[in-house]
Symmetry: C2
Subunit: 158 residues, 2 copies
DNA sequence: CATTATAGTTAGCCGCACCTAACTCTGTCA
DNA sequence: TGACAGAGTTAGGTGCGGCTAACTATAATG
């Protein structure tokens, strides 16, 4: 059985995943990660960040000590990358396949990334790749869909 | 500007949307809707249902009086149908396009349906229709994707 | 080196959404 | 018709994840 070799699940809440992802993103841009940056990035007050950091530290995902900079642990990086990847996969699908504008796609991805498991994400990634690849083989699925969608909208309004 | 004619938003939490959807689904099967049915359907305890019903009643979405059967108001039906439709659109996409099995698709749809707005849902519905239609025009996108996905998986494991 | 602005923390409150325990109502059946 | 099972409610507790107010630590500046 698969369950006999079940991996230790971190079981993060959506909110904690958001904090982890924010730290990951900031770290990729700004050399150091400050509590304040996280708060701004997520639009929450500073005490919320402090509490989240303590919890993430207890779970071994961030290196945290009071008044210090924040860094991700090895497993924190892995976990954050996993979440960020989901975000990216979902957003790409919305943009490249559905033709949603980048801003709306980003927002929707933020809300959706915590709800989809690895299996569906893998298929979604595969599908987006497939669509992009198919475009290079003559039949451009995304382009054809855009036509389809537009004509359907016209039909609706008249 | 669009905002000048902004509609009154009900602004239901994900949880309340779940209650509403459950009532809608039960009503479509069982003549009368009992508090207990809702509790079983959602896997929550009965007091949770009582509280949710009071809130939904205050919002004018259900007709509720203590110890009575539950019915949806007109706007409750509209709102519930909207949520149920989202669920259906998402699930269909997972099943018909991505080839996910029905059970997993249902579960994922439950978690995703509160996160996607009308615009993306509309595009997703359109896309699923497009894929289904394209199958009848010679190039079966879903089928081709399944091949693509399988071969990619083979490549991964060896 | 003292001052002061700013970053970070602590303490404590609130709302949401779940729960259990215990009570009340209702409909059935002997 | 009265007792009882089961449905529904009330009361009150919990955890999460926000918040503000007030305190403390750090770092920059004269």
């Amino acid at each position: 059985m698969k369950d006999t070799v079940k991996k230790k699940r971190n079981n993060l809440s959506a909110s904690l995943e958001d904090y982890l992802e924010a730290i990951f993103n900031i770290a990729g841009e700004s050399e150091v990660v400050r509590s304040k940056d996280i708060a701004e990035c997520l639009g929450v007050a500073k005490p919320s960040v402090t509490r989240a950091l303590k919890i993430l530290a207890k779970k071994g995902l961030v290196n945290y000590q009071p008044y210090g900079y924040v860094t991700l642990t090895k497993s924190g990086i892995a976990e954050a990358a996993r979440v960020a990847k989901k975000h990216e996969v979902i957003k790409s699908f919305f943009v490249d396949v559905l033709g949603v504008d980048a801003r709306a796609a980003h927002d929707a991805a933020c809300r959706t990334e915590h709800a989809l498991g690895a299996a569906i994400i893998s298929r979604l990634l595969g599908f987006t790749d497939f669509v992009n690849k198919a475009g290079r083989n003559g039949y451009d699925i995304a382009k054809e869909f855009r036509k389809f969608h537009k004509s359907r909208h016209r039909g609706k309004n008249r």
